[in-house]
Symmetry: C2
Subunit: 336 residues, 2 copies
């Protein structure tokens, strides 16, 4: 007989046509069960590969943290995950990573997950947009959001001030003499994308620059090819921008390559700012000016917050904003 | 009373000073338990927040596959994981990803994991070197190895022919007129690294070229900075090579940047071959000649193998080798 999952005493009792108590008595080697019944139960256990010790799910199973990530291939998330793993290790927790099937987590992604596995807590690394889902998760166990502002009551988070970071980057381009500034953003499904767009627009408005819808692109995920197409689109339009603020270093690389393809020089003809300061940004030629996010810190502090909440459910909700820094490299220059 | 994990009938029985059978009888609402005993047991259950239905871990928990990865930040693994997720999704399985704490998985990494969580099967994406650990895992549930040859009996795997792929790349450099060929390899702790070095050495030997130990570097993990240092080391030695075969596109990027730093032109002065064909390799300037591994296919077929084994434990062990292809781009040229 083939069975893959855990078998319960209840299932064995039902198959043997006896009570759970009888199965328990056999498991506890009590001699109060008839020999034929005992034989029947032991036979079923053997067929099912039932290991009596497997029903001993102890408190230790709560040493597992579930880390929910939507974009595992975004290199920035790699940094955040390192920080989470580091904090978890120090506190003797292990981490299971669950990926969303789509851009955002849905109820479907969690189907059976919480019923069949026991977690001490959950870390959400972006990717949960559905408030009902957030509330459901928050009811199931302690939960912390990493790298994303969270408006739901009772959920602590660690993130950067997205609006300020995007405003600062855009203001830097304006201070270099640019007024035709494009925005390569992620899909507005992501709260971070909505906030960065807000910061970009604030900087434009403050400088009295009108926004130009054709220069704003929204890319569904952190994907080089999609960003390359979007950049080509903007750079081949009749009225070209002369600077780009992009919300990911991967997008900045795409803009630089699209420009190269079109014989547009960076930074002589256009300036480009990225976001994240992943290793790639300093590896590029030209090296990319970028907004540095403290990825490992975000992960580390997020996991620390969660463990604090696990150890003391009364811990008040904490909202931590970490600082960003604009790192000026070769992809930006004063407008000539 | 604070408890985080699952409480077992056994624990409640022990706290109440009764047998498991008695607890079961209370759970099954049997009227054969004394009122005072029943009250005592129910009190303990309440204090512990014990939910009798929580001991019902049904067969469905087996819809989870445990994916063990050591180098989550290696972009190539991102491709393999995509393939695994795709196959899992199609068969209605979910995947939990577990990272090794070090370069390779140890018994410590699996401590409590298999006791406290139920998995339908395990996919190892490299990173398990300890044969005893492999055997232990193979005993616990169906297991498949992805992206790495596996000599342990009973474990199916999907990988490329590492030796042939490395030989082909090195032979290509030789055919372009190079005889001073360096190797930027990963640590020989990784079976893939041992095999690629074997292929490299075979090609040299076949062409009557002596190996030059100073031109062979082993890097502990797929890390740009470490590879950059190793490349600088080799390129500043008195007797420089004029070509590099590297076992990762990330390493190839490091060689190209080290060369640039030293005013050595690629491909005019040195030719460079990478491995994997990650997106980055075509994004670079010069675009990188590389050995393409079918990453998504490796993941997809590996997961399919596992599910086949889950559904039919009698499935014979399968050893699948997928083809690689040398993609010639701008980082290699004929020797002048």
């Amino acid at each position: 007989m083939k069975t893959n999952g855990k078998i319960t005493i209840q299932q064995i009792a039902s198959m043997a046509g006896v009570s759970v108590a009888t199965v328990s008595r056999v498991m506890n080697h009590k001699n109060t069960v008839k020999d034929t019944t005992r034989r029947k139960i032991l036979d079923i256990m053997e067929k099912l590969n039932f290991n009596p010790s497997s029903v001993l799910v102890t408190k230790e199973s709560s040493n597992t943290i579930l880390l929910c990530v939507s974009e595992l291939r975004n290199p920035f998330n790699g940094l955040v995950i390192s920080g989470i793993q580091e904090a978890a290790r120090q506190h003797n927790y292990r981490v299971f990573i669950l990926q969303a099937q789509g851009v955002n987590f849905t109820f479907e992604d969690f189907k059976d997950v919480l019923q069949h596995h026991s977690f001490a807590g959950i870390i959400l690394l972006t990717g949960v947009n559905d408030l009902k889902l957030l509330e459901m998760l928050a009811l199931s166990c302690p939960i912390v959001r990493c790298n994303e502002f969270c408006a739901v009551n009772g959920i602590s988070f660690v993130c950067i001030d997205e609006i300020a970071a995007a405003r600062k980057a855009t203001e830097y381009l304006i201070s270099c003499g640019y007024r035709k500034i494009a925005l390569l953003n992620s899909s507005l499904q992501f709260p971070f994308a909505r906030r960065r767009e807000e910061g970009y627009l604030e900087a434009l408005q403050k400088a009295g620059i009108e926004k130009h819808d054709n220069w704003i692109a929204h890319i569904s995920s952190i994907n080089y090819s999609l960003a390359f197409s979007a950049a080509m689109n903007i750079l081949t339009s009749s009225n070209k921008p002369d600077a780009f603020f992009t919300v990911s270093d991967v997008y900045a690389v795409a803009v630089i390559h699209a420009a190269k393809r079109l014989n547009i020089r960076v930074p002589e003809d256009i300036s480009v700012i990225g976001f994240d300061n992943i290793e790639l940004s300093s590896m590029m030629d030209p090296a990319i000016t970028t907004v540095e996010q403290p990825g490992e810190q975000i992960g580390y502090q997020g996991c620390e917050l969660l463990i604090e909440k696990i150890n003391n459910p009364q811990t008040p909700v904490k909202k931590i904003f970490l600082d960003t820094e604009l790192i000026v490299r070769e992809s930006t220059a004063w407008r000539i």
